[in-house]
Subunit: 237 residues, 4 copies
Amino acid sequence: MSSNTTMRTVAGRAGARRRPGVREKAAQATRESLLRAAIKVFARHGLHGGSVEKIARAARSYDRMIYYYFGSKEGLFVAVLEEIYRRFNEAEARLDLDPGRPVEALRAVVHFALDYYRRNPEFVTLLNSENLHRGKHIGKSLRAREYSSSAIGVIDELLRSGVARGEFRPDVTARDLYLLIAAAGYFYQSNRFTLSAFLGENLEAPEAVASWERFVQDAVLRTVLVAPPPVDGAAAT
Amino acid sequence: MSSNTTMRTVAGRAGARRRPGVREKAAQATRESLLRAAIKVFARHGLHGGSVEKIARAARSYDRMIYYYFGSKEGLFVAVLEEIYRRFNEAEARLDLDPGRPVEALRAVVHFALDYYRRNPEFVTLLNSENLHRGKHIGKSLRAREYSSSAIGVIDELLRSGVARGEFRPDVTARDLYLLIAAAGYFYQSNRFTLSAFLGENLEAPEAVASWERFVQDAVLRTVLVAPPPVDGAAAT
Amino acid sequence: MSSNTTMRTVAGRAGARRRPGVREKAAQATRESLLRAAIKVFARHGLHGGSVEKIARAARSYDRMIYYYFGSKEGLFVAVLEEIYRRFNEAEARLDLDPGRPVEALRAVVHFALDYYRRNPEFVTLLNSENLHRGKHIGKSLRAREYSSSAIGVIDELLRSGVARGEFRPDVTARDLYLLIAAAGYFYQSNRFTLSAFLGENLEAPEAVASWERFVQDAVLRTVLVAPPPVDGAAAT
Amino acid sequence: MSSNTTMRTVAGRAGARRRPGVREKAAQATRESLLRAAIKVFARHGLHGGSVEKIARAARSYDRMIYYYFGSKEGLFVAVLEEIYRRFNEAEARLDLDPGRPVEALRAVVHFALDYYRRNPEFVTLLNSENLHRGKHIGKSLRAREYSSSAIGVIDELLRSGVARGEFRPDVTARDLYLLIAAAGYFYQSNRFTLSAFLGENLEAPEAVASWERFVQDAVLRTVLVAPPPVDGAAAT
DNA sequence: CATGAATGAGCTTTCATTCAT
DNA sequence: CATGAATGAAAGCTCATTCAT
C-alpha cells in the first residue's frame, strides 16, 4: 500500500449527516460487490492466487475500481479481513445464552462455533491466508482488533455461573476453553480434505458432523464439570 | 502434470547392484536440495506464492531441474507433501509409549503432537495450502495415503488398556480423541498470528505454550477418565 | 484460448454514436499494427516460430497487448487468418469480368489467381501453417468461413456463358476448375524454393512467371473448350 | 550446425568392406528409428514445433543420440529431407510405363502423383516446412539435389511418343506438364483442411478423391491431345 | 464515477544443446 | 555406445498497477 494513493470510503467525508444520493448508492453497491467478490475469490484461491482481475470480473466491475475504493490489492484484503471479523462478531453477538443453565449454554456455544465454521468456510480459509502471511494485514487494521471476541466474555460468565453453583471447576479459564472449542471446530473444517484422505472417511457427511459435535460438547463439559456424568448413556445426553 | 513429461527418479535402473557413482550422488543431492528448498519456500509463501525460481535459487540449482526431477511445479508440491507426511510418520513411529501406564502415555501423546506442530511449522502451513486446494494433490499421491497415522492405532491401544483397568470410559473412540488432540495442537500453531492479535497476547511465549499443553492434557484426560481427579491441584498433575 | 480471458474489441460499446476519441484511435492503431506485424511474423516463421515478443516488437508494442486484444497467441492467429481471407475476398470482389467474353474472362481469372499468390506470399505460407495444424483455427472462426470464395460463383457464371454459346463443354464444374487454377498458382508460389533446387532454375524470374501463366491459361482453356485452338501458334495466344 | 561437432555415419569408415557387427546393427537401428520418428514428428509439428525430446521419445531413445548421429536438430532435418526425397525417387523409379500407349501412360502418371501425395502426407508437410525456411536445408544437402525427379524425363518420353504418333501437340513441355500434375496433387493434399472449411465438403472422402483424379487426368490429356475426345461421355472414360 | 488502454516485471514451462560418465 | 545430469535462453502467459479520458 503506497502511501500516496488516495483511498475513498464511499461516503466522502466520514460522518457526514447528508442522506446518500443516487450516485453514492451506486458507488456503495460497487464497493460492496467488489468486497463480496473478493471474499469469495481470496477464500478460494488465497491472497496470491486471487488476482484483482478475477475479483473485478466476479463483481462485474473493473480492476481499476479496486484501486479506487481500496487503494491496492492488499488494502482490499485488509477490508476483507475486517468484514469477515465483523460478520463473525455480529453472529456471536446474536448468541442468546441463559447463564442460569451453564451446561446447556456451553453446549450451545460449542454448537455455534462448529456450525459457524462449517457454514462459513471462507472465514476459515481467509484466516489461514492471513496466518500464512504472519498476521501482517490484521496488524495494519485498527478496526479488526476492535472485534476481540465477545465470546470469551460470554464463556467467562458461564464458567463463573457454573462455579457459583458448585457444578464447574474453578481452575479452568475462559480463554483456554474458548481456544479448545475454536480449535475443535476450526481444525475439523479447515483440514477436512487432508483428514478425509488420511482417515479414509468423509468428514462432511451429516452424521460425521453431528457425531463430532456431540463428542466436542462432551469433552468440553467433562473438562469443566466437577462431577461428570457416569458412563452409562452419558456420552449422548 | 502433463502425462508426456519425462520424470526421473534419481537412481536410474532400480535395484542395480552397482554402487552409486559420483554423478549419481550429486544427482541425489540436487534432487534432495530442491525438495528441501521447496518445503521451505512453499511453507512460507504457499503454493502460488512460492515460485519455482525462488525454490531453484534457494537450492542453488536451476528451474529446469525442477522439471527434470519432478515434472512440474505441482509434481514438486506432491513430492513435498509426501515428504512431510513421511517425516511426520517417522516421528510418530519413534514415540515409545508404555500401554501399562495409559494416563502417562496419553500425556505423552499430547506432548508429542503439540511439540511436533510447534517445531515443524512448515508441516502446518503446507497442509493448509493443500486444504486450500481441496486436497487435490494428496489425492494424486498413492504414497501419501499410505501414511495413515499410526497414532490412532496407538491411542486405540492406550484407550483399551485404560478401559481394561477400569480407569477409562469405554465410550470414547480413538479417532475422536486423536482429532481433538490434533486440533488443539494444530490450531494453536496455525492460527497463532491472528489469535495473538485477537487475544492481545503472544502465544509463542514459552509459558503460554507450556500452559496450553497442560490444559490440553487435562482436558483430554478428563474426557476419558471415569473418575477425574478432584479439583485441588488436579490441573497441574 | 481459455474461456476466462477477457478479450476486447476496440470500440467498447458497439454502435455508440460518440465519435472516437484520441485514445480510441490510438487503440485502433495498436490493434491494427499488432495484427499487421503478426501477419508478417507468422508468415515468415510459422505459428510456432513466430513468437509473441517478435510480433510485439515489430509492432512497437508489448506482448501484454496481444493478450489484451486477442486473448492468446492462438486468438491472434485466428484474427490473422480472418484478415488474410478478408483481404483475398476483397481482391476477388474487385475482379471485373465480362461474362460475354468467357475465354478472355477465364484468362483474367487465371491471371488474378497466380498474380495474387505471387504478390501476397504471406497468404500462402499462412494457409500452409493453418493446414499444418489441420485447420483447427479456421474451424474456430465463424467469420473466416463466411469468406467462401466468390470466385467459384464467378467461374460458374463464365462456364455457363461459354456453354450457352456452344464454346465450352458442359461437363466441367466450376469447383474443379477453380481448384485447378488455385493449385497451379499456389503450388508454384509455395514450393518455389524446393522446386528451384529440384529443377535447377529460378522460378521467380519474370520470364518463368509469365511463361507459367500462359501455360496455365492454355491448359485451363483447353480443358473447357469444345474446340481447342489448333497447334500452330496456339500456345502463345 | 556448428562445424566442430562430430557427426557419425553409422558404418564408421564409409565404404569399409567389413561386415556390420552386432553393435553396428544396433546403432543402425537406433539411427533409423530416430530418423523415422523425426519424419513423423517434423511432419506433424513442423521444424520448430517438433522438439528433439519429442523425437527422441517417439524413437524410444535419447536426445543425446540425435546429436551423436546427426550433429544437430538441423542436421536431422536435412537427413529427413534427404530420406523423403529418396523415398519419392524410389517410388517414381518403380513406375513402369508403356511409351507405346502415351495416353494411358499419362493417366498413370497422374494417378501415381496424386496417390503418392495422398498416401504420404508427411512428404507434403515436410516440403512445406522446408519452403517456409526458403529451402535453406535442401541447399545444404548435396545428396538431395541428386534426386532430381526422373519423372520429368519420363513425361518427356511420353510426350515425344505422343507427338510422333500425331496424337499430342508438340508445343507442351514436360516440365510444365509435370508442374501441373504435381500442383494438382500437392495442393489438394496440402490444403485439404482449409479447402474443406472453405468449400464445405470433405475432400478426403473416397469419391471426392476419385472424382478429382479423373478431372485432373482429363485436364492433362486435353492439354496435350491434338484432338480431345468429344463431349459425350468423354469426361469419364 | 467509470472504463479502456498501457506497462513492465514476473510467472511456469519448454527449448536446443553440452557435460560427464 | 548409451545415458543421466546440467544449463541458460527464451517461450507463452498473468500479474498488480498506472495513465488518460
